[in-house]
Amino acid sequence: MRLLQKLKRKSSPTHRGSGSNYAYATARVRAMKSNLLPRETYPRLMNMGIDEITRFIEESQYKQDVDELARVYDGVDLFEHALNRNLGVTFTKIINISEGELNYLISEYLKKYDIWSIKTILRGKYCNASVEEINDSLVAAGQLSYTFLSSLAEKESYESVIDALSGTDYYPTLKGYDGTNLSAIENQLDKEYYNGMFYAIGTPGSNDRKLFSKFIRTEIDIKNLSTLFRLKKAGVGEDEIADLILEGGLHLSMKEIEKLLPLPFSEFINSLEKYPYWEDISDIVSPEMDSLVDLETQLTRHSIKSAASFSHMYPLSIVPIMDYVLNKKNEVNNLRIILRGKAANLDEEIIRNQLVI
């Protein structure tokens, strides 16, 4: 109950604009950023075997997480859990060191992890997975603690899970879940997340807030592009795609997307030429493209590249913090890609293509 009150308090828009500790938080984040692995580490890791990589991770900032989880997991699973745990601890730390408006914005952004965990719990209840199985797939990197999420996983039914979340921002969406419409609820939660982000940003006044808004809107564009590619390639109808489009994109406004919706796949690709994303994806998209995996990776690269391009502009703002959040997430992703890729005997070229360095 106290946690829910805390959540409500933190989520409250009344906190917007109240005293933020930008100087302190950005200084801490700058120090944390210095712990990130330098980009030249990844080619070195690519040349190592699994044992060498795991030793490298054990000797890095992830040591404590690996040691603590070693009694529960082993092999590559241990490292994946350790990486995720470290990510969760790091993001929670950022939430805890920030205050006022900054805290509000970061918390809103990191809600995506809470949504992910809630979806995992509902999915687990849907297929009668055991509590251990559900707990294994939780990542507590948002406002909701692992203990709280774990207590949700222990609930008997999805109804009890939803009841336990009453009073949170997710409840109005979750109460529409009837045990059968899981995918619709998942999509709705994701849409609400972006709507919430939009509400949090409001009308940006200062330049740094404008950049943050640009960052979020670019993320929406990328999400919409990915959705359009996936659904158009699968031949899904125009109306069904329209339901899954997020509003508020930077270059792909609703008006622009409405023009793209009726186009067949090949024409849709051609019509993307006029958008700034084309430069990054032009080499890999074609009407005959077999896989969208490289496109997704390229879009992620674009997102990180664009965040990095303005991260130094306003040192005492949310921008360098978001840049760190993205880079930390990317570091965890890269380490996992190398480890899991090598464990799955994936071709070196495939692993290299998935890395975002």
């Binding site: 699973d77 994946e80 859990h81 995720n84 949504i115 992910w116 979806k119 995992t120 999915r123 687990g124 849907y126 297929c127 997975a129 199985e133 559900i134 294994d136 797939s137 939780l138 990542v139 899981l182 995918s183 619709a184 609820i185 998942e186 999509n187 939660l189 994701d190 849409k191 999400k223 990915s226 959705t227 590619f229 996936r230 659904l231 699968a234 031949g235 899904v236 069904e240 899954l244 997020l246 896989s291 969208l292 995996v293 496109l295 997704e296 990776t297 992703n333 996992r336 890609i337 190398i338 480890l339 899991r340 890729g341 799955a344 005997n345 994936l346 495939i350 692993i351 998935q354």
Partner: protein
Amino acid sequence: MGAKDVKPTRSELIDLKKKIKLSEGGHKLLKMKRDGLILEFFDILSKAKDVRSELDAAYEKANEKIGIAESVEGRMTVKSTAFAMKDAPQIELESHNIMGVVVPKIESSSVRKPINKRGYGILGTSSYIDEAVDSYEILVEKIILAAEIETTMKKLLDDIEKTKRRVNALEFKVIPELKEGMSFISLRLEEMERENTFRLKRIKA
């Protein structure tokens, strides 16, 4: 049946002649069945080879795609997404007849599902997951097809073996023994005929 066990009577000879005719007819039919089954087997064998190589390719691709999904999205994400996919493919088992051999016919439904009907939300997932699901759906389809063809092939092989044993038994054991018995009875009857003629001549003399 040894020739010595046969009673050298005319009725036995007629009986044996009938049996030989029946056995030869059966032998001819079984030989035709065996040849037909062999032809059918070779036809299915080439299909089975194709399906097996397609299955191997699908398995390799599925392994690659799940490997990519697990490395980019994480095994936890893949596992969590898998929780949302509760509906298992439906399989119906029917049977049909190839030259008397009952072989299975497997009908599957809801193996391949459209991207937006898979149970997980689109906005919270990615192409890595989609492609892993796609490749596993294809793999399941190939497994079902391979199961049907390979079971048919196994059943045909069993039946060819059985038919071959019957043909050989008829050709090298049953028919020769019946013929031996028939020639024994014929000889014995001729001998008895000659003895009777000689006995009559002696009585007349």
